[in-house]
Amino acid sequence: MKWEVVIGLEVHTQLTTQSKIFSGASTAFGAEPNTQTAVVDIALPGALPVMNKAAVEKAIQFGLAIGAKVNRRSVFARKNYFYPDLPKGYQISQFELPVVEGGAITINVDGVDKVINLTRAHLEEDAGKSVHEGLHDGTGIDLNRAGTPLLEIVSEPEMRSAAEAVAYAKALYSLVTWIGICDGNMQEGSFRCDVNVSVRPQGQAEFGTRREIKNLNSFKFIEQAIAAEVRYQIELIEDGGKVQQATVLFNPDTGETRAMRSKEDAHDYRYFPDPDLPPLVIGEDWIERVRSALPELPATMQTRFVGVYGIPAYDAVTLTASKALAAYYEATVAAGADAKLASNWIMGDISATLNREEKDISASPVSSEALAGLIKRVMDSTINNKTAKDVLRKMWDEGLAADAIIERDGLKQETDTGAIEAIVDAVLAANPKAIEEYRSGKEKALNALVGQVMKGSGGKANPAMALELLKKKVG
């Protein structure tokens, strides 16, 4: 039987505020346990929450960025459950009336665009953290994270493969970091994904029973966890079993998912409007102010890159992976580099080296101006592409400009026909067989000799010129 996979994502993005959503305690990561807590965060009786304006503003930014409806009136609700890292016994969240409803994000998988619709995004507070290691007895509770503002972003179940789910998570990640509402630090838990997965026979209209994989904090884990979960569900059904609704955890070490709690003892959260917090009202003028301050968004920028720079859509998507990368590209072109060459170099050698050294583009030792300087020497045929790669490596390590390295190492391409002719003659004399082949109609026979000419010139010959000369001489 052919199976169809159905996936929906719930992503918790930590908002970049200085203070917590309902108290004046700091949200900075990594402080000594419980040193960043106010009376509200530790739930002292009578302590009342006061909403952080910046958290609301970031939710509005997000809503506008995905073309969603920003609700002029939304309501905070109590989600009730008992856990030691939640001292109030309830989490303040939004239920019936969230701050953001609808909206969409376009993803691209294998060159095909697909629109993923969003259900909602709502504001809520994070819980504290449980510590199980290094204590004599029991579990330790650190409430520094309690009350950190989160925007929970819920998608419709519209993804049909792990690749689509990862593409969606990456597009969402790129957007929230782009507009600056989330710092995107996945190791510190700033962007956490819950993934709902179900399978159904191809062509069936109803959804299968879903299981929810909790708390995935890397794109690789999302992909692996979905693959494992899909395998598990299909095998179970094919063996005559039935999927039970459950919450599961993914273990990266074993590559398997394991049920955390089944439906029988699933939480019943008994949501109700929080009497401590009257409705959140967002005025038209506030929304307009936020709208006018929004930066150019990735999708708009991609269209502009294709139109203005004439680069392929694929390049435009890659170059707008982050705001910093896009700025680097634009600065390189502005400094005189050819738009397509700049794109090739940035997506190629620059990105590869940054990846290898685990650096961000903002920490690149080769500035956009320096890269443009190198590309210009390729454009005016001072050096060929292969030499340019070596020059870039030296620029990277030594921090020198392209011209300085070309001058110092004598890498200027040999365009003196006489000098190359001598090398061409020598190569031809050593390869009579290739000449035969060429004369008998095998056009490509001479291409193999270009490499030898290049070698003979110490890489300084112009490959096009070398081929030209070879052809002329064999005639």
Binding site: P33, N34, L280
Partner: protein, 95 residues
């Protein structure tokens, strides 16, 4: 709508309230009385009336995003039953 004894047991467990068997029946009667009242309220025609989420007609007050709370861990933890390494200690939690 009325609650069965099992419903009452489940609600008590969710609220982490220990209810004896004697109390269970009494709780059932009392809760069902409240639900009857809610049923009466539901019977009122509310067509055209906007749902209310708060008893008072006011809107949420917003504060500027600034760190104003000082570290008062020592004072807070002075009344905690058990602490270690700056952490509040609770009975071991196994998920």
């Amino acid at each position: 709508m009325s609650l069965s004894l099992d419903d009452v047991k489940r609600i008590a467990r969710l609220a982490r309230i220990a209810v004896t068997d004697d109390e269970l029946a009494a709780s059932q009667t009392q809760l069902n009385r409240i639900l009857t009242l809610i049923d009466e309220m539901r019977a009122v025609d509310t067509t055209g009336i906007a749902p209310m989420s708060h008893a008072q007609d006011m809107q949420l007050r917003l504060r500027d995003d600034a760190v104003t709370a000082a570290d008062r861990r020592d004072a807070f933890q002075a009344v905690a039953p058990a602490v270690e390494n700056g952490l509040y200690l609770v009975p071991r939690v196994i998920e």
